[in-house]
């Protein structure tokens, strides 16, 4: 503020100096003002001080000239203070904006570095583990052919330690992904009962290791659900594997159910065992990362203590939850509850458009953003083609079947089926597979597009020239048509 005050004061000083050509103490008074300005941000207090200084200097009562001078000084000082305050605020705001921008950029950089690290780590860690496990398996097979029992025993130890290490690596990578917000959810429709059967089959050797029985209650069933198949399977497997670890000569029971609650349909998977159970104390810290009941548990039973935490995170990601009931010495029941369908931001049922002139060449736009429909319609207005549109993949596919277009413009990111899945469907339908498809995306991912059979790939926002060029490259006959129309 002092600097700002000084800068602002110097022109004023000149002005006042002219005014007071003959006043001998003006310099003295002004320097006392400077001091006041640099020490005060309160205009009123400053003015009072100025007035006091002036009255000390000139004595009272003031003459008419003195009063006018005083008034000028008052206004100038007021301006001075306002300016100083403004400058200060602007400086502070600029600094904080720049700081926020820098922090944001830094965070983005760090986040990107983290995902790159995760991706390369999962590759770098898994590749050597694959070799270790694979070669061990091969040596075990060779040993079996030769009947070399003693080597096989040792090789099996390497194999199981390797498998265990790979499991830990996978679990740690899963957790890093979850915590970095990079765990992707892949929703599809599938039979929950089939997943259950499959997991039971895979888990059977594990269950039999401790002489346990694995039973499926025949009363309930899951049916078709919309969820992430891999995550459900992993969660179920974790629960069964846990149960069999802490149970000997007992039973592990799976109970399924499907029910309505709070206007939503739910499915639940309960895994009960007759094992050692847990104390209320142990239950409390159960779902934390690396939280096995205590160190002695690890020594006796092994494991990473990550499985339940991952399972809980998966349930959260899928909009569900997990709960536990347990009694020490009697057994434990874990219940996973998931929504039977994922709440989609209502893909509205769209009536299929009726085309006025179905014989004109047609361009179909499939994009959930109606603005894009309008843009394409506008850009192709003079082409003499009919542009028609759908807001989601299903509507787009049925429109394409009803009025087969010459070109399809397809958005990548859509609710429901996304662009890639839609493209796969188009390409697998003999009636539609020959239609050139132009992918439209905010992401630059040309290679995936071409690999999947897209003929062109353009980035949003849509640029007229690029769209025209893409359409012409994928469907030159439209050029002829547009040329004819322009002439007519």
């Amino acid at each position: 503020l002092k600097n700002i005050g000084d800068q602002r004061l110097s022109p004023r000083k000149e002005f006042l100096r002219n005014l007071f050509k003959n006043a001998s103490r003006v310099e003295e008074i002004l320097s006392s003002f400077e001091h006041l300005v640099s020490n005060s941000r309160d205009e009123r207090a400053l003015l009072a001080a100025v007035e006091k200084e002036l009255s000390n200097a000139f004595g009272s009562p003031y003459s008419g000239l003195e009063l006018r001078v005083l008034d000028v000084i008052r206004r100038q000082v007021g301006l001075l203070v306002e300016n100083a305050q403004l400058m200060e605020r602007v400086a502070a705001e600029t600094a904080s904006r720049e700081r926020i921008k820098a922090e944001k950029e830094e965070a983005e950089r760090a986040n990107k570095a983290k995902s790159n690290f995760l991706a390369s780590m999962s590759h770098e860690l898994r590749t050597p583990m694959t070799a270790i496990i694979g070669y061990t398996e091969m040596l075990i097979e060779d040993g079996e052919d030769r009947g070399d029992e003693s080597t096989i025993t040792d090789l099996k130890k390497i194999h199981s330690a390797g498998k265990h290490l790979l499991e830990i690596i996978n679990a740690v990578l899963d957790i890093s992904k979850i915590e970095a917000g990079k765990m992707e959810v892949y929703i599809e429709t599938f039979s929950g009962d089939e997943v259950v059967k499959n997991v039971m089959q895979v888990a059977r050797p594990l269950v039999q290791k401790n002489s346990n029985q694995l039973l499926l209650d025949s009363t309930g069933e899951i049916g078709l659900i919309e969820s992430d198949r891999t995550k459900l399977r992993q969660g179920l497997f974790n629960l069964i594997s846990n149960a069999s670890k802490f149970t000997e000569n007992g039973q592990i029971r799976l109970a399924l159910s499907r029910y309505w609650q709070d206007q939503k349909e739910w499915v639940s998977f309960a895994v009960s065992d007759t094992g050692i159970g847990m104390t209320p104390d142990q239950l409390e810290k159960l779902f934390g990362a690396f939280a096995q009941a205590d160190a002695t548990v690890y020594n006796k039973y092994g494991g990473t203590g990550l499985g339940l935490y991952i399972t809980k995170c998966f349930c959260d990601l899928l909009g569900g939850n997990i709960s536990v009931q347990s009694e020490c010495g009697k057994g434990t029941t874990f219940t996973m509850r998931l929504p039977a369908a994922q709440a989609q931001d209502s893909i509205e049922e769209q009536p299929i458009e009726e085309l006025q002139t179905p014989n004109l060449p047609k361009v179909l736009v499939i994009d959930d953003d109606p603005a894009v429909h309008e843009i394409v319609k506008r850009l192709l207005r003079n082409w003499g083609v009919q542009v028609y549109a759908a807001s989601n993949a299903e509507a787009g596919l049925s429109l394409a079947k009803k009025y087969v277009p010459q070109v399809i413009i397809l958005d990548v990111i859509m609710k429901g089926l996304d662009g890639w899945q839609t493209l796969a469907r188009l390409k697998s339908d003999p009636e539609l597979s020959a239609i050139p498809v132009i992918m439209l995306s905010i992401l630059d991912n040309k290679n995936a597009g071409y690999a999947l059979g897209a003929s062109e790939y353009i980035c949003k926002p849509i640029d007229r020239e690029r769209l025209e060029a893409a359409i012409l490259r994928s469907c030159p006959q439209l050029l002829l048509h547009s040329g004819m129309c322009k002439k007519a």
Binding site: T130, G134, M138, A424, A451
Partner: protein, 124 residues
């Protein structure tokens, strides 16, 4: 016994998978990149292809598409092998014309199951 074309750029994986397949009685021919895969698919006339997706020069996806362009090989069974169990890889592989896919690390019994399944479907 059936002839399998193994397309894999990682030397250790190549050695491992080929030796284990040979141990099961399969004849194995090898390609180390997509271009070689396309050439050997034509010259060696294998009964089945194991195609690593992440290949240098030409990706396994492109190689598959190129192989499919040849009418003589449009029904050649191809199993894609993907290193990352990334969801979406499966769709890309199947859309490119692979018949099936498997994820690395290879679990031999599972992969053998898929191989036998495709081979028997072809002969039946």
């Amino acid at each position: 016994m059936a002839k399998i074309l193994l397309v894999e750029d990682n030397e250790m994986n190549r050695d491992l998978i080929s030796r284990r397949l040979r141990g099961r009685g399969y004849e194995v021919v090898i390609a180390v990149d997509g271009g070689e895969a396309v050439r050997k698919a034509e010259s060696e006339t294998p009964d089945l292809v194991l195609m690593d997706v992440g290949l240098p020069v030409m990706s396994g996806i492109e190689a598959t598409q190129t192989i499919r362009l040849n009418p003589a090989m449009k029904d050649l069974p191809i199993i894609a092998l993907t290193a990352h169990a990334l969801q979406g890889d499966r769709e890309v592989a199947l859309a490119a014309g692979c018949d099936d896919y498997d994820t690395k690390p290879i679990e031999l019994p599972r992969l053998l199951g898929k191989i036998q399944d495709l081979l028997s479907r072809r002969t039946s």
